[in-house]
């Protein structure tokens, strides 16, 4: 097992550019990991990078935003961006101030926050039908160019469905209700009146589901309130660390005012310390207007033909990694089978052609036509007609 060399991006000049989803008037970006990446880079290298608000995640090496590009080298995903930023900031990281004991727990806590709060953000924005139909769908469509704005928002919503269903945060009843309402809105038939009893039952089920979601959120947020205590940041530091950044980015998205304020109300009622922590981290990262990063390219909502074509990713880096003996062994087996199959096919075909005598027939036919062409066309036709008559005569005589 060869040791991997340290990951150094080539210094091809030019600034590193962070590509994230566009911002809206209340949110720094449409995705919590994009906001975390933005906060992290702004805290670590305040003027050393620029931001590109792009609507095209297919240009990223993994197909997802955020991604950081520096010259020809690009990395995608928050964790890899954090690692690369350490190279850009000469080896400094936000987590350097942590004690070894805290560092050991850090990875687990960040994974916990990203998975649970990420699920809650996805639930609030994509699953609750009031939020989806009245706000999120419109916001995503407004940042996309014309053909994509019609089908991409629904695609993005569907992509969150498996994960939310697995953690029971996918509101099936609410979505069916929403689909039914939209269909009735556009149909000319009068809407069927539901009986009061079934309406009450549906409402009761919905309320119990909402209570379950807020119980889940409460259980999680209580843990982090206890961890934060009366400190400024989660660990005993004066500066925000990666955990603070990730947590604040998710709370920033959860506290936004929306049609359905399930989690936002919960936060404002019971979790003031967490909201204050979020304000503190954002204040530290964007303490004045000059600390906003430069925009790398103008925010164009133009349509490019390339974006509607499928972009099948070409395996670049991973292929090198797959050159292990077991893989080479399998590759060799498959190559053998391929050569064997096509080789035996051609051998059998060749021998069939030879033994069936097809080649001499064709050779004769070619010679005949060459001779006929050499002598002249008409003579040949008369000969053919005579031959045909003779043949007919022969057949007539046979009993």
């Amino acid at each position: 097992m060869a040791l991997k060399p340290p990951h150094t991006p080539p210094r091809t000049g030019g600034e590193p550019v962070l590509h994230i989803w566009p911002r809206t008037e209340h949110l720094h970006s449409l995705d919590p990991t994009c906001i975390s990446a933005l906060l992290y880079l702004n805290l670590l290298i305040p003027t050393g990078y620029s931001v590109d608000y792009t609507h095209n995640p297919d240009s990223s090496p993994s197909g997802q935003l955020p991604y950081l590009s520096h010259g020809l080298h690009s990395v995608s995903g928050f964790e890899l961006i954090v690692k690369n930023a350490a190279h850009l900031a000469n080896g400094k990281q936000l987590d350097d101030v942590l004690t070894p004991a805290d560092k050991a727990q850090n990875a687990a806590r960040i994974a916990h926050v990203e998975s649970t709060l990420g699920d809650l953000v996805a639930h609030v924005y994509y699953s609750l039908s009031a939020n989806w139909t009245r706000q999120t769908r419109h916001t995503i469509a407004s940042v996309l160019p014309v053909p994509q704005c019609y089908y991409v928002p629904e695609r993005i919503r569907k992509s969150y469905q498996p994960r939310l269903e697995a953690v029971e945060l996918w509101d099936v009843a609410g979505i069916e209700q929403e689909e039914r309402q939209e269909r009735e809105h556009f149909s000319f038939r009068r809407a069927a009146k539901k009986s009061k009893k079934s309406q009450e039952k549906a409402k009761f089920k919905e309320n119990s589901k909402r209570k379950k979601v807020s119980e889940k959120a409460r259980a999680f947020l209580d843990i982090y309130v206890r961890l934060l205590g009366y400190k400024h940041y989660f660990y005993h530091t004066d500066e925000p660390t990666t955990l603070d950044v990730v947590f604040a980015a998710h709370i920033h998205m959860l506290r936004l005012h929306q049609p359905d304020m399930l989690i936002a109300d919960l936060l404002t009622e019971s979790y003031h310390t967490l909201l204050a922590h979020c304000d503190r981290v954002f204040g530290r990262a964007f303490h004045d207007s000059t600390s906003f990063p430069a925009i790398a390219s103008p925010n164009t909502r133009s349509f490019s033909v390339r974006s509607i074509l499928p972009k099948i990713p070409t395996p670049t880096q991973p292929k090198g990694k797959l050159a292990s003996p077991a893989w080479a062994e399998q590759e060799r087996k498959f190559r053998l089978m391929r050569w064997g199959f096509f080789g035996s096919v051609s051998v059998i075909f060749g021998s069939y052609v030879y033994f069936a005598g097809i080649i001499p027939i064709y050779v004769l036919a070619v010679q005949h036509t060459m001779k006929a062409l050499g002598q002249g066309g008409l003579v040949d036709e008369d000969n053919d007609e005579e031959d045909e008559d003779e043949e007919d005569g022969d057949t007539a005589r046979l009993p």
Binding site: M1, D58, P61, S62, G63, L80, A111, P162, P310
Partner: protein
């Protein structure tokens, strides 16, 4: 029927008496359940000496049962069987625990519980196992669940999220069934440990993976673009953090006794050390950390001894 048959029809029917045949006893009856039996996915080796399942979920619950019972004075042996197909399990998911009716605590006895105990027992899904265990051992609900203090319990939630997120995603992404095409042709879904590698991978990642055909393209989305490099980096960080946190402790987070988190950690370590991953990255990262290997060795002895193979 509340109405009574009219007389002429009754006389007509009396010419055709109803004869009830006696009940036939079938030789294929299920034997009554005596020891609690855990239904799991089969172990890696076919020999009877290996009772630990090849599936992480089943192994997790096996370890939980074993560690809970190891703490009692007279540890009961739980039987284990793997000849049950997953489609026959509760909700289609193994593991399940098949117990006799009298060992069920009152909270688990459903509304349609059998009045008479005919030996059939009850099959519990996995999330009811802790309740059954606490009912069987007669212990009260512990606030701290065996951890040192509330901070440790909170931290355990974070470790659960790390293991079931990053490490599980790495296990699925680098499993032989995900990377070789031939296994997709095999008709038997139970031959691979994971139902459908693509489905469960998108569940373990917190950000849904982009489709292969591109998110913005006109073609309907198909497939998944899995960033193996990122998954591997996250996995390496996770194992490093786990090893640093374990240090030289007997049980993780410095608890005095085994906790549910120990069962989970053992399940993942055991599966990682025995994974036949193409590149062996998974196994290499764990095996180069001596404390994780020693921990897995220690817990495996306890867990293996707690089970017997099911005999009819």
């Amino acid at each position: 029927m509340a109405t009574v048959l009219p007389a002429p029809i009754r006389t007509l029917f009396s010419h055709f008496p109803l004869y009830t045949y006696p009940a036939t006893t079938s030789p294929y009856q299920a034997s009554p359940i005596r020891t609690p039996t855990l239904w799991i996915r089969p172990p890696r080796t076919a020999s009877g000496s290996d009772v630990l399942s090849s599936d992480v979920e089943c192994l997790k619950w096996q370890a939980y049962l074993a560690l809970k019972f190891s703490q009692t004075v007279d540890p009961a042996r739980v039987a284990v069987r793997w000849d049950v197909s997953p489609s026959g399990a509760v909700d289609g998911r193994l593991p399940n625990l098949h117990v006799a009716l009298e060992s069920l605590p009152p909270t688990l006895i459903g509304k349609d519980a059998k009045v008479k105990d005919d030996g059939e027992g009850e099959v519990l899904p996995a999330h009811h196992i802790p309740e059954w265990v606490s009912g069987r051992l007669g212990e009260d609900a512990d606030e701290l669940e065996g951890y040192k203090n509330i901070e440790a319990r909170d931290e355990s939630r974070a470790w659960v999220a790390l293991l079931e997120g990053n490490v599980h995603a790495a296990l699925i992404a680098f499993s032989p069934s995900a990377t070789s095409n031939l296994s997709a042709l095999s008709p038997d879904p139970s031959s691979s440990s994971f139902f459908s590698s693509n489905g469960s991978l998108s569940i373990s990642l917190s950000q849904p993976p982009a489709p292969l055909t591109g998110l913005l393209s006109l073609i309907p989305p198909y497939g998944q673009r899995v960033d193996l490099h990122a998954i591997e980096e996250k996995y390496i960080d996770a194992i490093k953090a786990l090893s640093d946190r374990l240090g030289e402790d007997t049980w993780i987070l410095g608890s005095t006794g085994p906790t549910p988190l120990d069962a989970l950690v053992f399940a993942y370590l055991h599966s990682l050390l025995r994974s036949h991953a193409k590149e062996n990255t998974l196994r290499f990262e764990v095996s180069r950390r001596a404390n994780l290997v020693a921990y897995e060795d220690r817990v495996r002895a306890t867990v293996s001894n707690a089970f017997v193979v099911y005999r009819k």
